[in-house]
């Protein structure tokens, strides 16, 4: 009997430890329900998260691609990054701010990062800037197999969603995935 108890606790410990931790979310997003059955692919994902207030965040799931993206941003926007900042970017899951304010954000200690308010990606194209489109272009050039996923909060207004879609379409991306949680067809 004791042996069975031991086995049970061992298995329990195993499962507790192997549940993957959710990556630290910058903002809580309540995803809408749908009857979609296709599970989210595991890798090669470029994720756009839309917060309830309309802020948009960007994330890549692969750390190497992140570094390459940072190099491209660095040369395109003429912003030098120190090695410490590059390393911080590598471990940054999601971020949303003007690209030009990235160096300052990356100098903040990782544990303090959650305290900094991130204003979301910049969509307006004044001054001939196309920050979001550049992000999309550079990431896809570094990794052509990237799939686009959009995780929008239930109550996020359609406008922010539309801006993301417009930016994607301008970069010739017409196929993307909307992340939803499961619901049965019969309500």
């Amino acid at each position: 009997m004791t042996a069975m108890c031991d086995v049970a606790f061992l298995l329990l410990t195993f499962f507790i430890l192997t549940t993957k931790f959710r990556p630290q979310e910058v903002v809580m997003i309540d995803i809408p329900l749908s009857t979609a059955q296709i599970p989210l692919p595991e890798n090669d994902i470029m994720m756009f998260q839309i917060a309830p207030d309309g802020r948009v965040f960007f994330g890549l799931d692969d750390q190497n691609t992140r570094l390459k993206l940072l190099d491209r941003i660095s040369s395109a926007y003429q912003i030098p990054f120190s090695d410490q900042q590059k390393d911080n970017f590598r471990t940054l899951e999601y971020w949303g701010m003007d690209i030009r304010s990235l160096p300052e954000f990356l100098s903040v200690d990782p544990n303090e990062r959650s305290k900094v308010f991130q204003p979301g990606l910049v969509f307006d194209t004044t001054g001939n800037q196309q920050q979001v489109e550049d992000l999309i272009l550079f990431s896809r050039q570094e990794n052509p197999d990237l799939r686009i996923a959009i995780k929008g909060d239930k109550s996020a207004k359609y406008k922010s969603f539309d801006k993301v879609i417009q930016a994607l379409q301008n970069r010739k991306v017409n196929k993307f995935n909307l992340i939803t949680s499961a619901k049965s067809g019969q309500e």
Binding site: M4, C5, A8, T35, A36, K175, L178, I179
Partner: protein
């Protein structure tokens, strides 16, 4: 292991107490094992259910310069769903020709199965009766700025549930849309 022998007073060092009756406590641990298995089952199921699902969306490529002029679709084969504020969907069918006298039948529906789904199925059966094939139905989804991501996801979901083969997300730019927008009192900006 259903019982555990706890030596009463045997672990104390140095204390020379007068031991009264030696009581051996027997604790039944079956309950703990049951709890352990319950937790185990919970974790086993919870980790697999957590995977969020995705909904594939394919949009037609944005035509920049030379827009191929497709023959305009007969309005009676279409239905328009305009997504408004407060989780309301306004559904209507544009008449084939618009003149100053046309009355527009406008339904304000919610997203429950009784609302939107009934409308879609009704249109499908109408198109089936009129044109012979319910897959001819073309649904135009026009989201107003006041609608939310949840509305879009729900509408796209209804497309899949009702097996609508042709639908598109469009800007509310047609003249009929301005009429509807004025009627419901929401702006299109």
């Amino acid at each position: 292991m259903a019982e555990m022998n706890v030596p009463a007073g045997g672990g104390k060092k140095g204390a020379k107490k007068v031991r009264s009756k030696k009581m051996s406590t027997r604790v039944d641990l079956t309950a703990m094992v049951d709890l352990a298995f319950l937790l185990l089952t919970f974790f086993m199921l919870a980790t697999t259910m957590n995977k969020p699902k995705t909904m594939e969306v394919n949009k037609p490529a944005k035509e920049e310069d030379d827009k191929k002029e497709e023959p305009p679709i007969k309005m009676s084969k279409t239905a328009t769903i305009m997504l408004g504020e407060n989780d309301k969907a306004y559904c209507y069918t544009s008449p084939d020709e618009i003149d100053p006298d046309t009355k527009l039948e406008l339904d304000s529906l919610d997203y429950s199965p009784r609302g939107l789904r009934t409308f879609i199925q009704r249109r499908q059966s109408e198109v089936q009766a009129m044109w012979g094939d319910k897959d001819e139905l073309f649904i135009m989804i026009k989201p107003l700025p006041g609608s939310t991501v949840k509305n879009i996801v729900d509408v796209l979901d209804e497309m899949t549930i009702n097996d609508v083969k042709r639908y598109a997300i469009l800007e509310p730019k047609d003249p009929i849309d301005s009429l509807v927008a004025v009627t419901i009192g929401q702006s299109r900006e």
